[in-house]
């Protein structure tokens, strides 16, 4: 009954501190297609297929790891913000959490379905890249909005 797969409350703050700069850096790097030489490394790869090129299986490949770093940090910080306990994680919060997760999943796939039908080529690749993060983003927005509303409805009694 106590098992809920959530991080301790303080991790929410750590997640927020990481999330904001990495979103900004991510947008900047994507916008200007930045690949500093410093991040050019030889890295182990399970499978790599170059565009119109060779295939590599279990080998070392040359890669600019900046986008991987940003992707990993974004996912970790999104997860921390989304799934850290509230200050008082009681059963009502658990219910809101579940409902928000269902809602976020629907909205995320609605956006993806729409994009699948009306967006093509490289643009759709970008949709897929953003889609890696949007389910957690939608969840965070909806969940925190609901918790806020809950705090607002609480009237001054006695």
């Amino acid at each position: 009954m106590k098992l809920n797969y959530l991080f301790p409350h303080r991790f929410k703050r750590i997640g927020m501190i990481l999330l904001i700069p990495f979103i900004l850096i991510g947008i900047y790097v994507v916008q200007y297609d930045i690949e500093p030489e410093f991040f050019d490394l030889s890295v182990p790869s399970i499978f790599t297929e170059e565009i119109m090129g060779r295939k590599y299986v279990f080998s070392m490949i040359d890669n600019n790891i900046l986008n991987e770093i940003i992707g990993v940090m974004l996912i970790i910080s999104f997860l921390l913000v989304a799934f850290s306990k509230e200050r008082q994680e009681d059963e009502l919060i658990a219910k809101i959490r579940l409902e928000s997760l269902v809602w976020a999943t629907y909205v995320n796939y609605a956006v993806l379905l729409f994009s699948m039908i009306f967006i093509f080529g490289m643009s759709f690749l970008w949709v897929m890249i953003f889609n890696m993060f949007t389910i957690l983003l939608f969840f965070i927005i909806r969940f925190n909005w609901q918790v806020r509303n809950l705090n607002k409805t609480i009237g001054d009694e006695e």
Binding site: Q88, D90, E91, L92, I93, T153, I154, E157, E158
Partner: protein, 68 residues
Amino acid sequence: MKNSIKVERAKKNITQAELAGLAKVSRQTINAMELGKYVPSTVLALRLASIFETEVSEIFVLEDKDWV
């Protein structure tokens, strides 16, 4: 489902926040239950009954719409 949490609370003369502390939930949860917006788990219902020194069925009462 109707409940008489507010009445029981008045009898015992404790605030929502105090009841929340005793029942180990947030004040928001107590408030949502009093407003009929949230139906508690069996464990929480039993805790409330224990705090008010009464039976669960004295606090929570089924309505016709609960059978639909």
